[in-house]
């Protein structure tokens, strides 16, 4: 069995939490947005492009989670064979994962609901497109906060650099 330092193993848990929960939120959100979009496209073929845009919006949370997970894996030495992380940095890594993971979960679900509602509003009234995008983009902020804190934790927690 490969010998892995405790800090590195904790960072691996952090990476799992980061992509796991962010991906879950993103998936649920995207599922909701897509369900609304399919309904809209079934009634109006012209809604396809706009439905795709709204369905793609909750993808970002998974991207943030994926990025953070990759950074954790690289800087903890799991990818690339670098030096392993000390234990305290490993604990920080769990915080990093939780930060983007849970923020991404909530943000993704919120964005999915808003996006699905927006698709419904647009298929009823075409002029709602711009306003729908604005409302659907609002829940993105929570994921951005989570992502920022995750980066700050990595920088100042001794993981990056």
């Amino acid at each position: 069995m490969v010998e892995i330092a405790l800090g590195t193993a904790l960072a691996a848990i952090g990476a799992g939490v980061a992509i796991g929960f962010a991906g879950l939120g993103s998936g649920l959100g995207q599922g909701m947005a897509a369900a609304g979009s399919v309904g809209a496209v079934a009634e109006d073929n012209d809604m396809f492009a706009r439905g795709i845009i709204f369905s793609a919006l909750p993808e970002t949370q998974a991207i943030y989670g994926f990025l953070v997970a990759i950074l954790l894996l690289v800087f903890s030495g799991l990818l690339g064979g670098g030096q392993g992380l000390p234990t305290e940095a490993g604990i920080v890594a769990i915080g990093v994962g939780a930060s983007i993971g849970f923020a991404g979960l909530g943000s993704g679900m919120g964005q999915g609901i808003a996006a699905s509602s927006s698709v419904g509003a647009i298929v009823e009234d075409n002029d709602m497109f711009a306003r729908g995008i604005i409302f659907s983009a609002l829940p993105e902020t929570q994921a951005i906060y989570g992502f920022l804190i995750a980066i700050l934790l990595m920088v100042f927690g001794g993981i990056l650099g």
Binding site: A9, L28, G39, A40, E43, E88, S116, V123
Partner: protein, 384 residues
Amino acid sequence: MADEIATLISSMGLTQDTFLVFCVIAILVVGAVVVIITSRPILDVYPYLNPSSRVRARKGRLFDEKQISELVETNNVDEVENYLRGSPDYADVLDEYPLDKALDVERANTYDFVARLAPKEIKKPFAVMSRKTDVDNIKSLLTAKEVGLTPEETRELLIPCGSLYEELDALADSDSVTDIVTSLDGTEYSTALEDALPQYEDTKMILPLESALDKYYLGKLLRSTDVPSDENKQILYSYVGTQVDVANLKLIIRAKEDGLDYDAISPYILEEGYQLREWKLKDLMESPDVTNVVSGLEGTKYAEALTDVMPMYNETGSVALFEKALDKYASDYSKSLASKKPLGIGPIIGYLSQKENEIKNLKIIARAKREADFPNSKIMEMLI
């Protein structure tokens, strides 16, 4: 610090591996709790997302006030028909049927559409509503036989939709009302019709049969929503219940206008109303006249709508004013329900109610345009 953590771990009697296992378990437990808590609202909303978009797409195609005004401004019924051909919802049905039948078919298709796409938990009442076409077709058959129409003329009256259409179409050749009732044996309407048959045979009027059908339909509709366990079902129950109350009230008001007493009205009333329960309905049926019926409604949600038209009723003596006020109340109430649950049943109720109104208005316009020199201002007054 790493040493301190290592000391802490070993002071708890754990190895590094055990500590890791505990970390994983803790994360899994926290994660599971978060997922369960956060996904519950999603599970409530999810079944409605696709249907909501579909009905909102159709709601967006309903005629707005400007288009209805343009329809009112048309010169004759052919222009109305041509105008409707420009709408994708009506173009197909107008290719197959004359205007009035096309509107009936469109209404039946709308109820079928909603019954098909409604989420499972609220499907039953909409499935009952989609059977209204069968009830209307049976009534048309009975009326046709009562007035002695030929089989061809009778078939013209039938709406070519509903689960019983083919059987009813074959019954157009029946010789009498009694034959039609006995031929419907085995259908869900047979008991209601057979119970009312002796009354028909005594009076030779089909009113008891028609009322028995209405009562059966409304009872089935009300019972289909009998467990309002969540907000969506509560809204649906209010929507359906209001329809039942409005139907009961219309019947009582018309009966009182004709001077009928409690014994004459009660067989046709659905006793298990929504806001107007059995005791209240009994009070209303025992009222001596229309004015007392309206005053007896004080404290109910229907009072204001009917009291407002009382002065006009006193001037004109027309109970149609009350019927229109009740229709408008039901429509406004449905609109208010529609905005209560935008990620639930709201859009479905909103669409159904507005589509129903649109078809009623189109029928009013079409009928008015068939009459020479019918003033447009009068049509506007008649619209819901």
